[in-house]
Every structure is written in C-alpha cells, then in structure tokens.
Amino acid sequence: MTIIPHLAKYARDTEIVHRLRPEPPTAREQDAQAQLGDLDFEIFQHKMQMIALEGKETTMKLGASTAMRWGDVAFGIYTAQGDLAVCATGIYHHAVLSQLPVKYLIKHLRDDPSVGVENGDSFFYNDPYYGGVHNADMGLCVPVRIDGELVCFIGAAVHTGEAGGSEPGGMVNGARSRFDEGMLIPPIKVGSNYVLREDLLGMLATMTRDPRTMILDLKARLAAARIAERRVRDYIEEMGAAFFVGALRKVLSITGQAARRKVAALNDGIYRQPRFLDTTGPETQLLKLNLAVEKRGERITLVFEGSSPLLPDRPVNSYFQGILGLSMVYFCGWYFHDLPANNGLLEAIDWRFDDNSFVNAQGDVPVSYAPATQVAFNQGMFMAGARMTYATDPSRAVGAWYTGFAVTVFAGVNQWGDPMADITPEINATGAGGRPGRDGVDCAGAFFATMSDCGDVEATESERPFLYLFRNYFDNSYGHGKYRGGSGVGFGLKVHGVPQVAMGSMGFGSHFPATLGIFGGRAAPPAFVQTVRDSNMDQLLAEADTGLPTRMDELYRQDGEEKEQGNRRFGNLATPPQLYSQGDTYYVMVTGGAGYGDPLQRDPDAVLTDLRNGMVSEQAARDVYAVVWDRRSLRLDTAATQATRAEMRRARLARARPYREFLRHWQEQRPPAAILRYYGPYPQPQEKGARDGAA
C-alpha cells in the first residue's frame, strides 16, 4: 500500500512509543541541575511528591467511575520534554506509560500553529497505542509555562471503565479489530484559556454509554491538575524556574543511577518463566508468553522471544510498550520499591520482542484484553523475580498475587434511570502471594494498583442495580504452601431494582490457573462464574430464608440440594456481556495469591488457626498439609502429624521417577490440536524461543 506523504502524519507514530526512557537532558536542564544544593533538592522531592499525592487524592474524590473513585489513579509532574519525573500512584505501569502521550503532543502539537501548547490548555487522550494498556485508560495533562518557557506538564492517567466499543465496560471480548473497541483518541486539546470546549465534551460523551461518568472523570482529572498547577507555580515563584527544571531532571537522573546500582547487586544469570493463557477472548485456546529475564552487570533484559504469534482478530494482543509498562508494576512495587516511580528506572532495563508476536501488537489488531496478557506476564515477572532476588534479598522473593482479573463488567440503566457502564471493584480485593516467613495478605488489593480499594458494597449498591448476597473470604481461593497465598474474595450479586442489566466477565485462568506458586507452592485454583437465571432468590429473600449461602464455600458445599432454584450455569471468566433480569444471580470468585514453598513445611498450628477461622477447608488441612487434629477440640496431634508428613514424603518418592525416565513418558504427550489454533508450532511457537527447555 502506498502511503500518501501528506497523510502519513496522521498514522500512528511508531517512533514515539520507543522513547520510553528519559530524553537526553537539554543544555538548560544540565546547567540547572549542576546548580542544585542537596538540601534544597531533598525538600523539592518531598514537596513535589506531596503535590502529586494531593493530585491523586483530589482526582479520586471528584471522579465518578469505579476505578477512579477507588484509586486506580496515577498523578504526576512531567518534564518539558514529557518524562514523568514525579508520580503518585500504586498503578505503576502508568509511571512509565503515561509519558508517551505527552511526548506525542510535544512532538506533533506543541509547535503546530493550529494547536500549540499554552497556559490554560488541557489535553485529553486514550489511544492505547500511546497509553500502552487499553482504551479504558484515559489521561489528561496541562502545560505550565513560566515567562514563556515551557517548564513542565501536570496530568493524571486513570481507568474510566467505559470507552464505547461494541461491548460495554472498556474491554471488548468480541473485538475483531481496533475499530470495534470504541474511542481511540490521540492527544487532543480539549480546553484553552482555562475553559473546556463544550463541543468536544459533547463528542466524547456521545462516544460512550455512560456520558455522566465520562465527563465527571475528565473534569476530575482537570480540577486536580489545576490545583497542582497552582502549587507548582507557587513553588517556582519561590525557587525560580531554573531550579525547578534542573531538579525535575535530577529526579530522573538519580533514579536511573540508583536502579542500575540495585540491579548490579543481583546474581548474574538467566531466570525463565513461560506463561500460558487459556483464552483469546471469545475462545478457549492455549497461548504461550515466553519470558526470560537476563541479568548481566547493571542491566536486566526482558526477553519475550518465542511467544505465540500475533492474533489478527482477537483482543488478547498487547503492545510491547504495555508489557514494559506492566514490568514496572513488579519493579516499582517490589524490587525498586524504595526508588521513585518514574521512567528513569528503565535506564536499568532492556528488552527484546519478536516482530510477529501477540505481545508486540502491530497494525489494526484489537488489544481490548491486553490487560490479561500484561498481568499474565507480570505474574511471570514475580516468579522469575523471586528466583533472581532470593539470594541477595529474600524479602523481595514473593509469590505472585492473583490476577486472572475476574472483572465483572456491566451496562444498562441503573435504578435511578441513569445510563451506566462500568466494572465492579472486587478486582481490588485479591489475595497477595505467600512470601518468605509470612503468608500472603488476605484480600490485599490489586498488585497492579496497590493504592486502590474495593470500596463498600453499600456504595456500589447505592448507584448500581445490584444487591450483594455476600462478599467475603473464600477458603478455596488461594495457593497452598509453607506460606499460603492470601485469600481472595467470593461474592454474589442479585440483579435488583431494574428489569434488566447486561453483565459479563473479563479475565483468564478458568482452565489453566492464572496464579502459579513459587518454590513448590501450589497455584490458586481456576476461577469461573456461576449464574442462575429465573432464580427464586427474590422469593427466598422475601421469606427471610436463613439457609441461603453467606460465603462462597457454602455455595459449593456438597451436602444437599440447593435452595436457590433456577437455570444454573457455570461459565468462563472471559464471557461477553449478556442480559440478566431482576432476581437473577451472579457469583464469582476474585481469587487469592500463590502458595510459597512446600506445604508439608507449613507450621501445623498455622493450619489449625486457619481451620478455626474458616480460612482452610478440612480437606486441604488433611490432604495437602497432612495435619492431624482432634475434631472436637481442634487441638493438634503433633506425633500423628509428624508421622503422616513422613509417610507423605515417602509416598512422594515412591511415586516419583528420575528426571530422564520421567521425560520419556512426559514428552509423548501434547495438548489436543483443537486448543492450539493460535498457539503457533507446539511446543515452541517460534524458533528463537527454543531455549526455555532443558529437555
């Protein structure tokens, strides 16, 4: 195809997305940096961090979407070249990704006479090509000029949750190309002279199913940015623009230096963790994401060669920049937890991708489900990271937190007559992975959004047409181990107060567990959705029936007929929205963390404590942990437990075979061809990746 030269400028900019690392410092930045005093710089860092934190909190307080209100917010201050130097967030991928739209507007719009960048302007964007993840993540930034000099941008990146598209909720299961996914907006000027343009707001509102949320979220980002702008201007008035420009740049410089020093402390080597997804979105299929982490000297190289090929018309593709962004969730949250969250960290990181790879999306392929692919990678990063860090800092060697997402997506008209489309907040209540010396935290949060919260059920019920039947821990939601994973949450919803609502689920791991254990710990079990249409739940509630399940484990207890009657179905976590009626029920587990270490090394008293608290089943206490106890008093039988564990170890050795002998039988097996349609050649989808196996 011939590209007409004057139209090429409107194609996606393939150069800008490679500028993930900090731009080379300008002469102005270098000169200013050299003049900084240590004490003033220290005060600067604290003040800027407080300004960013205030921005994040303000955004949350003013926003309307589930994710914005519960903390899925990255708020920061960018250099005049677009690097995000200061960032307040627990959603760390935006700490390196949200700079790309800013760099785009600097490259394409700053000096364009039809647009320009002036005080009072505001820019909006959600094209995932620049944001890296998916188009439900939307951003806004404002420039700050002092005496004509562009000194910084201030902005927020937040998941708004509804972005139009052929399905609601911002994650389109059935997307066949990016044009099915809804709004794809590269940076555009939505306001000037401190006033938003009503014509553009009208356009944005019209492109989504939930115009109220769209506009309130946009204005929340802007209001927070304007407050931060006032703080920054006050500070510059006190310290001068040169100091500010130099200090902002210095934050990036010292972050990169510190990251390289931390990497140098790790043992050199290659740490591998292939990851397997069990969905393309609409189909149950096997895909491979081949991760190797190569550490040499001061640098880590993330290698993705050997992953499954690009999927031309399925939404689990991810842009490479999104994968690298998600790597920062591991690095910022765990290994570089004591360093600033900014793209200076990438001075210690390199990467390699195949051209034809579903983790290096090209062209018009859909990417709506990219978050699933990205978190699958990230859990592999936790596992390879645990192997990489244990020798030098065991406290960093943690099991993966859950996420196969298990996000419930919904859309329709709420009980107040307002259009709505969003997700429920339980993704922010997953369990953390087991870790050296301690169990994972129960319902810790979302590992990729560590400052987020799942909110009260009453807050959700007040404006969504649902009645929560229960929401609490689930004893079959985490991985067993010497230190068990933290429990996830199980919840049940009833459609309430409206005739109908569309509900679906986004996630993976219904066939191949999403969250795998480390150092012998077990995976969190597969998760799935249970629905009951034409349910008699309304009648049972009206009768105040006290025998209804109040926990997820009661729902699956095998001790009698279910009181709830209706058309019961069990379904995949990846299911497009379908209509449900008043009284229908919907149950899902948002699972827990990975197990850490051999379960037979778990303290038997800890198992009994879990048993008393309803956090482990009797079956697991007996069969996985080999604990023996008195059933009436729940007291440990120490001698019997030791004997049972010794017997179980003998049984392991009796069942096991030497490695080579085991391989002879193992290598004869392969998955059915029906689930390998998108995998690529099995077992190595691409030639370069044929390095992960010792066999």
Partner: protein
C-alpha cells in the same frame, strides 16, 4: 570463599564442588551449571488430587483442565522436599528456570572461576 550460598527457599550451591544442593538436607542435586531439576526425582500429580473439584459434571470445577495444564513436582531424592513445581501444558519442555553465571557467583563470594 563462602562454601555454600543460598539461592532459593529450597536450593543452595556448593561453590567448591560447583553443585546444587537441597537446602533442607544438603543432598547433592547435580552440577550448578546445569538445571537442578535433572538431579531431582519427578512426578506428575493428578490435578484432581492437587485441586479437588467442588462441582461435578461441569466444565468448571476448581480443577485445572488437563488438556491445558498439568502439575509436575520436583523432589529432593533424599528427603522428599518439593524443590519446585511447574504447571505446564502436557508434554511442554521442562523449564531451565535458574541458569546462573557460576563464575560470576564464585568471584562475588571470593573464589576463582
């Protein structure tokens, strides 16, 4: 030179002998420049044993789908401790998950490559 360095919860390396060892019992698990899994004994664990079904007769039950996924455990041949496990599709090559630069490790701990 420190003789033994800890690498994971369950593994150490004896730098003088350049061999993997089980942290729990000290058993030799083979050359440190190779995959420690080759020095383990290995078993495939039935998925219904590791993750028992809580729903029967359905595609979704809390038990992984054996078409997609199998569980392999690697044990110390001496003490039976699980050194590591892998959830892999059937027949997929075993992962060489820790490939250390042993010479660099020896230099770091005061020895000669």
């Amino acid at each position: 030179m420190n003789k033994t360095v800890r690498i994971t919860e369950n593994l150490s390396i004896d730098l003088e002998r350049e061999s993997w060892t089980c942290h729990a019992c000290g058993h030799d698990l083979g050359p440190a420049r190779s995959n420690y899994k080759e020095g383990c004994v290995v078993a495939e664990i039935p998925l219904s044993e590791a993750h028992p079904p809580l729903v029967h007769g359905q595609s979704y039950s809390f038990t992984p789908d054996p078409d997609f996924c199998r569980l392999i455990e690697f044990y110390c041949p001496s003490c039976g401790t699980i050194i590591e496990n892998e959830y892999l599709p059937p027949g997929h090559p075993i992962t060489h998950d820790i490939e250390l630069d042993v010479d660099a490790l020896k230099r770091k701990h005061g020895g000669r490559p």
